[in-house]
């Protein structure tokens, strides 16, 4: 279980997360939706052990990491059991996409060329896998970044808007991969604005606004939101489609 409990986080005097608790269960897909600036990415970074909160705690399996951390070096984050694909992707620019995929496996002594080849094939990356990140499109980079994370076989996978530049077919491939991962027991937390993606994939929907969770529940939250703010946000997104 990956869980954030009663998280408070401020940047200078602005509170960006107010008493937020989120549970990422293994073998489930949790989806966070909400407007820009609602604190989704900050929450994801905290869950990924990249951003310390001011108060609250993180729980990973049997271990609890209470905030504030005395010093970042004093805790040992459970990477890559918990790993992230960022919206900005952060592929290493001096390596080809293939090297981006295989280098972490080499460093972790988990080389598995068969799996790499299968994933390249599945994500249709064969044509551009030997190019550098700046030589391919955003959609191609997004696929490579997702592949890099998937190859690590994390227990918990956190994804921040990874489908923003993918076409319908690619989104459907990613969705199918995530469902496979879920069935293998991986806990997935996903930030997205794609409601259909959320409907198709989510076991749990979390709606955030202004640093708080306004509503959460099963996929039915998207069909019958109770909170007025959620209703308004969803209707704006639906009408923009």
């Amino acid at each position: 279980m990956l869980e954030a409990k009663n998280i408070h986080k401020s940047f200078e005097k602005t509170e960006v997360l107010h008493d937020v608790s989120v549970n990422v269960p293994p073998g489930k897909i949790s989806v966070i939706i909400g407007p820009s600036g609602s604190g989704k990415t900050t929450l994801l970074k905290i869950l990924a052990f990249l951003e310390p909160a001011d108060r609250g705690a993180l729980c990973f399996d049997d271990q609890t990491y209470p905030f504030p951390w005395p010093k970042k070096n004093h805790i040992k984050p459970p990477w890559p059991e918990v790993t992230v694909v960022f919206q900005q992707l952060f592929l290493w620019p001096h390596l080809t996409l293939l090297q981006n995929l295989t280098m972490p496996l080499f460093a972790l002594k988990r080389e598995n060329q068969g799996k790499v080849d299968r994933l390249i094939d599945l994500l249709h990356m064969g044509e551009f896998i030997d190019r550098y990140p700046n030589e391919v499109s955003l959609g191609q980079r997004q696929r490579a970044a997702v592949a890099r994370a998937l190859l690590l076989e994390p227990k918990y996978l956190l994804l921040d808007e990874i489908t923003s530049s993918l076409d319908v077919e690619q989104v459907s491939i990613i969705l199918s991969l995530l469902k496979d991962l879920r069935s293998e027991g991986t806990g997935i937390l996903l930030i997205t604005h794609l409601l259909q993606f959320a409907r198709d994939a989510a076991d749990q929907i979390i709606f955030m606004d202004d640093g708080s969770i306004l509503e959460e529940g099963g996929p039915e939250v998207l069909a019958n939101p109770k909170h007025a703010r959620v209703q308004k946000f969803l209707s704006v997104i639906e009408s923009a489609r």
Binding site: P80, F90, P93, M103, L108, L138
Partner: protein
């Protein structure tokens, strides 16, 4: 031979000391980085020849010492090289995009693996062309040492010319020698810059 000896000392000392100073300056911006930048800035505004003469005559006169001109030239040029190299390395390290290290962390790489596999290769690619160009400039600057009586190649050329008076042949040969040395280095720097400092921005 003296020219190559001088050039080698200047390059080696400058690269090693500059790398150390640049790394320390990136880590401790206020205590090391700022003084280094100020010294770098001052040195960049002072002609090499003036600095060389200043260390050779007034400083030694003030201190009441006489130092071998070869040592004076080595110290002067190595100092200039050190601060130029430190400036390049400090800037690249300071501006190194932290997100690449974050990506390495979440992929499970140890700090040492992140340094060796991610940070150093990127920093190396970004600094090496600039550092090569600086070394070419420093090699050319070794000629100034002739003006404080270091018997380096330019001074030898002058002496030979004084005896046989064949300035066209002698100075042309000297020019060709430096071209043969510096052009390949500049060419390599340009090639490396093209190859290594590709546009890292992602479309």
């Amino acid at each position: 031979m003296v020219t190559f000896e001088l050039g080698l000392i200047v390059c080696l000392v400058g690269l090693i000391m500059g790398a150390i100073l640049g790394s320390l300056g990136a880590k401790w911006g206020l205590t090391v980085g700022l003084p280094t930048r100020i010294i770098s800035f001052v040195l960049s505004g002072m002609p090499i020849l003036v600095f060389l003469f200043w260390l050779h005559y007034p400083v030694q006169a003030m201190l009441g010492v006489v130092i071998d001109p070869f040592i004076t030239a080595s110290v002067t040029l190595a100092t200039i090289n050190t601060f130029a190299v430190a400036d390049v390395i400090r800037t690249v390290l300071r501006d190194f995009p932290k997100q690449y290290m974050i990506a390495a962390q979440v992929c499970g790489l140890t700090p040492f693996q992140s340094l060796v596999l991610i940070q150093l290769p990127i920093v190396f690619r970004q600094t090496i062309p600039g550092l090569l160009m600086i070394q070419v400039t420093m090699l050319q600057a070794t000629l100034f040492a002739s003006l404080i009586s270091v018997p380096e190649i330019f001074r030898v050329a002058q002496q030979i010319n004084a005896q046989v008076y064949k300035p066209v042949e002698i100075y042309t040969a000297l020019g060709i020698l430096f071209l043969a040395l510096c052009l390949p280095m500049n060419g390599i720097a340009i090639l490396l810059r093209k190859r290594f400092t590709r546009d890292f921005s992602e479309r």
